[in-house]
Symmetry: C2
Subunit: 87 residues, 2 copies
């Protein structure tokens, strides 16, 4: 069975985010006011083959720890859903 | 009123994604099988000050078009929610 996965990583609180800071500084010059706390992370989307949703999630959590994120400075949010019109 | 915003960008279908392709090629060597269609995008999180949810969303959509994404090659998914324990 196939599952669609979204892994969204973000830097942990307290870790400097120069990209986010640059965006935040630039927005007022473009006329966008009232934006604060900009943090930039990554979004990985993929399809995984697994027996059920629980084992898909377990495999993705393991992938996150070992490969996709740096757990020292990053948090990951994992979303697993059965793949719709695929397979 | 403050709103928490998540903007998740991804490359459009058909646009080459070398980072995703590299991840996909690397996973079997680490023991992760059955993963396909890896696409890597960005996730922007920030807080925005606006009168209501509709105007917050409109401002974020405008920001996406003008600044955060390249609409020629990227799609963006916008999530706006009232900021929880803030402000």
């Amino acid at each position: 069975m196939q599952f669609s996965v979204l892994v969204e990583t973000r830097l942990r609180d307290g870790v400097a985010d120069p990209e986010g800071a640059t965006i935040e500084r630039s927005l007022p010059a473009l006329g966008f006011e009232g934006v604060s706390g900009v943090r930039v992370g990554k979004a990985f989307r993929f399809t995984i083959e697994a027996d059920d949703q629980a084992s898909a999630r377990a495999e993705v959590e393991d992938m996150c720890k070992r490969f996709l994120t740096n757990p020292v400075i990053e948090d990951a949010t994992i979303t697993v859903a059965p793949a719709g019109g695929e397979g």
